[in-house]
């Protein structure tokens, strides 16, 4: 007995420490992220909620508590709904073609090309160009009278498009800038995922006599499903927060005379830093945007769950 108890006391303390070590260490290691997240993520979110309930001047700071009046104000303006419409329109016009194009580009890059690395790096070049520079280049392309596109259209005796006067045309022009910047980036993500697809599956499919298109639709795309979901979620969050491109779309940066291309974040900026200098109202918009993104996030989750239960990598009929 004695021989076993003595060591067991120290060993039990050691065991506790060891257990703590095993249990706690991972949390200690990941804690920097959560500490940082709390400081620069969660705290600002909650503080914004606090600000949104007050009259809050950019320079004077906190004013009276006004309850939900800021939300009421924002929801009562036409501008809010215009901003909502524009944001979703630009988001759909950019994200949908972007994901589709990125998959096809990745598929081509996945093939046996000469100078592979050159092409792969090439698609990333637009991504490293600053958004402001992209906007300046596209300003020349989409200028109403002197722009490249309209000159080409008029050269072919087609009517010029009012890139800055028509809402949908302006959304299309802005979406083009976004696509220019992000398609290559997403293509590389898809490319990485494609290369992780076991080659045996393709070989089996080839032996079964499937064509190139069929292999793409029935092997590549289903195997990419988790990656597609990831890209859709990230581009949703990014797309709903779009700011640089529409703000740089004309010189005033307010989103057009009729606010044709004013997005949610631009509206937020206008309320907070524009002549109204109302952080309270801006915070209200920020929270509404936050809730919309969460709502879409939940929607995404539900759809993904359905897809996942609907049957993972599709089993193609043999």
């Amino acid at each position: 007995m004695t021989t076993t108890t003595r060591p067991s006391r120290t060993s039990s303390r050691r065991a506790v420490l060891a257990r703590l070590d095993v249990r706690l260490t991972p949390y200690v290691f990941i804690s920097p992220f959560f500490v940082l997240f709390f400081l620069v993520g969660l705290f600002p979110i909650l503080y914004t909620a606090w600000v949104s309930l007050h009259e809050w001047d950019l320079i004077r700071g906190q004013g009276e508590f006004v309850g939900l009046a800021n939300f009421q104000f924002v929801l009562g303006t036409d501008s809010f709904y215009k901003a909502l419409r524009n944001t979703f329109s630009i988001f759909l016009l950019s994200s949908v073609p972007q994901v589709i194009a990125a998959i096809f580009i990745a598929y081509i890059l996945d093939a046996n090309l000469r100078a592979k690395t050159f092409w792969r790096m090439g698609v990333l070049v637009p991504f490293i160009v600053a958004p402001v520079a992209v906007s300046m280049i596209f300003a020349k392309i989409f200028a109403d009278q002197s722009g490249l596109v309209n000159n080409l259209l008029m050269g072919m005796d087609l009517p010029a498009i009012g890139w800055h006067s028509d809402a949908l045309a302006s959304h299309f022009a802005i979406a083009t800038m976004v696509n220019f910047r992000w398609t290559g980036y997403n293509a590389l993500i898809f490319l990485a995922a494609m290369q992780a697809i076991p080659r045996e599956i393709y070989e089996a499919a080839i032996i079964d006599g499937t064509g190139r298109m069929r292999r793409f639709w029935h092997v590549t795309v289903p195997m990419l499903r988790p990656t597609i979901i990831f890209v859709v979620i990230t581009s949703t969050i990014g797309g709903l927060q779009i700011f640089d491109e529409p703000r740089m779309f004309d010189t005033a940066g307010s989103g057009g005379a009729s606010r044709q291309w004013m997005t949610m974040t631009m509206y937020l900026y206008e309320l907070g830093w524009g002549p109204q200098v109302s952080f309270g109202r801006a915070s209200a918009v920020a929270w509404l945007l936050f809730m919309i993104i969460i709502g879409i996030g939940i929607l995404n989750y539900l759809i993904t769950k359905r897809i996942a239960t609907a049957g993972g990598p599709a089993k193609t009929e043999r």
Binding site: L58, I59, D144, Q145, G162, H164, S165, A257, W273, Q276
Partner: protein, 424 residues
Amino acid sequence: MKITRRTALAASAATAATAALASCGSNDAGGTGGGGGDVELTVATFNEFGYEELFAKYEEANPGVKITHKKAATADDARANLMTGLAANSGLADVEGVEVGWWAELLQYSDVFEDLTDPEVEGRWLDWKTEAATVDGKLIGYGTDIGPEAIAYRADLFEKAGLPTDRTEVAELLSGDWDNYFEAGRTFVEATGIPWFDGAGGTYNGMVQQLPNPYEKADGTVVPLADNADVKAIYDHLAEYKDISAGLTQWSEDWTAAFQNDGFATMLCPPWMMGPLAGNADGVEGWDIADVFPGGGGNWGGSYLAVPSQGENLEEAKKLAAWLTAPEQQIAAFEAVGAFPSQVEALDAEEVTSLVNPFFNDAPVGEIYSERATSIEVQPYQGPNFFVINTVVSDAITRWDVDGADPAESWEQGLSAYDELGLA
């Protein structure tokens, strides 16, 4: 951190003391001589204030003073930085450049700036220049440059239309009210088919600046846009002549391109516009400037130097601001970058009046703009709501001038946009 701060404070106290002593003995604002410690002053400007060489000169005359220059590329960047710095109550330069348009929103926060009133600088500037930066008898900005407007025109296109081309004759042709200017334009457009001015938005800007109370009464109460007869009259006037407008938004890609292909024949041109105009119209011959502005004088732009109260070397900062905005220095800045001085004395200075601009057919622009500056009588009252309302009206104009909507409908849209603001 603590140590440096304390030494900095001690240093500033020391220099303030010596400066006070020095200023008793010398009447030269530049010769303060900071005997003991070092003072670091930061000056934030944007675009081109033309101060680079002056800083070196000031440092030389004031040993111990070190000036750091923070230069923003655009006025918008500088404004964003100023607002953020004021909001955070830290991070601003000791001397901040302020564009005249920002006063509208900044005057309500006048207590965050130092009162720069000083008998020594009284009468230094044109009255309307000082007035715009004065609130309750407190002067919060020293004027740097101004933007008295003249009319720039294409003499070659005028000739084509059978209008006079000589700048004195053009000045005669266009002097009078806006109606006269627009009517001359209609004659021109009928003869050539070329638009008369660049855009209704830019022209509106010139016209609205001639109203003493564009959108707000002197006590700060807002005139509801629906009842604002003056603004509506200008709006209707411009809409009536929308056929002679080139329909271009200033600074837009199309506007820049229009200089190269006879896009329009005249535009409102303050002195600082000469540079961009000559740059955009590079290679185009025929631009000239006439000493005239419809409806009386008008000012567009110009800046001030202000001293935010959050700074640590307030006295030194004030001294520097006063020195920089003295006539001699502003003349130097004018010679360096063409910033047109707002100082009464500088307007008569040989260096200013003798300026000739070769691009504008050797127009004596120094003389012309000095004349334009003194003919300005009205300094429009710009309260905190000036910009919101001005944006509403400008947007309404852009809708028909650039985007092709109906002026009457666009005004209605403007009224509902105004209601959305929830003012008064």
